[in-house]
Amino acid sequence: MTANGAVDKFRELFETRDAIAAEWKNRGKKTIGCISIYTPEEVIYAAESLPVGILGGTKSFAKANVYLPSFSCSFICGFLEKLLENEYRYLDLVTLPSLCDSIWGFYSIWKQISSNPEIYLLHYPSKRSGEAIKYFTKEVEKFKNFLEKFTGKEISKKALEIAVDVYNENRRLLKRLYMLRKSESPPIFGFEALEVVLSSMTTPKTLHNELLKELLTDLAARQEYPEGEVRLLISGHILDNTDILRVVEGAGGLVVADDLDSGSRYFWSLVENTHNPIENVSQRYLNLPSPYGPNVKGRIKHLTDMIKEFNVEGVVFLTRRFCDPYLFDHPILEQVLKQLGVPFLHLEHAYPLAKASLRTRVEAFIEMLR
């Protein structure tokens, strides 16, 4: 398994994300931490601020465990650890959508132990009815007003329209990259695609768009193709890094598609128009296929569409220990795949990763599919 250099830039962007954000801040602009996929980043961009996707760490949680119990998920533990280690000192603000009990718990804890950075909680409805859309739109409008005060920049309709264009362009480019993976010989590994998406969550979008265009040109000229014996799809939450995918692809799998917060779900749908940018942006974020919606249908549709479109031979479900929303959806998704006759493997994991045992299980799965 060798990467061929085309995505090196993206790996570098992702690995140096803290320095990039710190530099942005040094230029007198705000950096705002967020859970990229569920936070209307366009509004942050329109306030000339940098949205930085927050992630959980994977090392020890020694400092976080003073405040969080043993049954907390590694995303929240890792994020808190990083905050307490002062690794996020460049963040001026953190915006959290109220997705799950861990996030609400984290919000309560942080409010009681620190005020730096400040945390802004954005209500993310579990319904898609008229009143929920109206409510979420108001929430985003309130967030916009808050950001105007916080950054001292007026967010005009024009600025929002430009932000939507920039973000939609990023989404279209990422989708074009993913479409190349439909081919019998996809030009990139799954872990490389993940590096591209993760870096999109932390890099200024205009820069990311430029590099994506170059990547698409470079890949067209690619001579060597990744090798893998089985076409796999990874389904799950947000991945903090590429470790798990490297294990999967090191064991002979080739990840050709995903149903991940840090994958296709981040960019698959566009903001359709900009008649009323706040409303249009809100609707787009509310309609994401996720475990936070009114039912599992959206997730099932996205997952099964991806399986068909990308000619997937097996699915690897990733769940974090203590991550309730995904763990609750899991039995339903398993049932769907059984009915479709698609083989799957469920990897419930915690950090630090037990790589050897993960590898053994993936190898056995691939052996079965071969």
Binding site: V66, Y67, L68, P69, S70, F71, S72, S98, L99, C100, D101, S102, W104, G105, F106, Y107, S108, I109, K111, Q112, I113, L121, H123, P125, S126, K127, S129, E131, A132, Y135, K138, P291, Y292, P294, N295, V296, T319, R321, F322, D324, P325, L327, F328, D329, H330, P331, I332, E334, H346, E348
Partner: protein, 412 residues
């Protein structure tokens, strides 16, 4: 050290029959062609349902009853074999075991015609209800509730009350029954009355010695969970109030020689309720208040504005309120009830009631000088309970409280 244990309240002993009657009433509802709804238990729209002749059932309560009856083990195995992680809410895992065919106590829960989930306590509510609706192939109605970060605002109330009104329209359409506004008004008055009586009962526990212990209190909250909006609940709490008032007048306490007054936070470990007796018998320590049992009585309803009022009740519950509110609420109770220490029960499968206990412990200590101890097990899953470890932790805590009590002014 007093070993004399008082009998439990006679009103608390009646609860067993009321629980049986409650689950039977759903069977009866179906016989009468009325609907059965499975609802989440913290501030569900029971008042609406009862006034429309729909019988609510509460899977959380059922899980708790099944745990006390020690009939959960097999249910956990079944749900785990269907792919439900052991890290998930043990109420959900237990009930899913029964839904998936496990042998259920009390003849099982009558199957629902609709499921109604709020989101005012946890996301697990929503996810658990989705899973049940999916498995049972029944419709689900979700009432989305925003978290409160400072105060309950007009926009929160409007959002939730609109959803309640829409629920009524939907129920009217599918059941063919219309909501009688007068009946709803009456249900709200009855619900509010029952909550007020419950608050008065809890208030009487300020007395020394405390007339009601945690086991009785945990049983006696049942009618407010299951029957808010009915005359039955009001009558029950009137009777309870009388009995507790008599105890206070007679100076009868849970224990004669009350040495420590404790506050309980979190869901009781239903499989080991005898843990409370351990503290009582060994240390003369009595729980004089529980945040959990108090949750069902903290709001008054205004029957002239039913939907807004019910929306307020849904939003105004301790797990949905901001940390500062919770902190001041606890400090107020400690003062009013002359409490010596707090036992914070964490449940490893209930983040909503447990995730910030370590921080609450620190805030109480540093900001208010209130001692507390965090215990970790699971509220329903007995496999995550270590008796020796928990008792050792409580022993240490009680020793610390004991050494502090020597420093107390004598006139307390």
């Amino acid at each position: 050290m007093s070993k004399k244990i008082r009998r439990s309240l006679s009103a608390a002993r009646e609860i067993t029959d009321m629980v049986l009657a409650h689950y039977m009433s759903a069977v009866q509802a179906h016989q009468e062609s009325r609907w059965v709804a499975w609802c989440t238990a913290v501030a569900p729209p029971s008042e609406i349902l009862y006034s429309m002749g729909i019988q609510p059932l509460f899977p959380e309560n059922y899980a708790c009853v099944a745990t006390v009856m020690r009939t959960m083990s097999k249910a956990f195995e079944i749900s785990e074999s269907h792919g439900l992680s052991r890290d998930l809410c043990s109420y959900a895992r237990g009930v899913m075991g029964f839904v998936l065919g496990g042998e259920a106590p009390l003849g099982g829960m009558e199957k629902p015609d609709i499921l109604i989930s709020t989101k005012n306590v946890c996301l697990s509510y929503l996810k658990w209800w989705q899973l049940m609706a999916h498995t049972l192939q029944r419709p689900l109605y979700v009432i989305d509730c925003p978290r409160i970060i400072s105060e309950i605002e007009e926009s929160h109330l409007r959002y939730v009350s609109e959803q309640l009104e829409r629920l009524v329209l939907r129920l009217e359409k599918i059941t063919g029954r219309t909501l009688d506004k007068d009946k709803l008004k009456e249900a709200l008055e009855l619900s509010s009355k029952a909550a007020e009586l419950w608050r008065r009962v809890l208030g009487l526990r300020k007395a020394r010695p405390c007339p009601v212990g945690v086991t009785d209190s945990s049983a006696a909250m049942f009618p407010l969970v299951a029957s808010a909006g009915t005359m039955e609940a009001v009558e029950y709490y009137e009777k309870l109030l009388d009995e507790v008032s008599e105890r206070v007048e007679a100076g009868t306490g849970v224990i004669e020689d009350e040495k420590f007054r404790l506050l309980l936070s979190g869901i009781p470990y239903w499989h080991h309720l005898d843990l409370f007796n351990y503290l009582k018998n060994r240390y003369g320590a009595v729980f004089v208040y529980e945040l959990y049992t108090a949750t069902w009585g903290i709001t008054s309803l205004n029957s002239t504005r039913p939907f807004e009022s019910l929306a307020f009740k849904m939003l105004y519950n301790p797990t949905n309120m901001p940390p500062k509110w919770a902190e001041e609420w606890i400090a107020g109770i400690v003062k009013d009830f002359d409490i010596d220490g707090i036992v914070l029960l964490s449940s490893r499968s209930c983040k909503a009631t447990s995730i910030n206990n370590l921080v609450i412990h620190r805030v109480l200590r540093d900001k208010y000088g209130i001692p507390s101890v965090v215990i970790e097990a699971d509220h329903t899953d007995h496999r995550d309970y270590s008796d020796a470890e928990i008792k050792a932790k409580l022993d240490t805590f009680m020793e610390i409280l004991g050494s502090k009590s020597h420093m107390r002014p004598a006139n307390r």
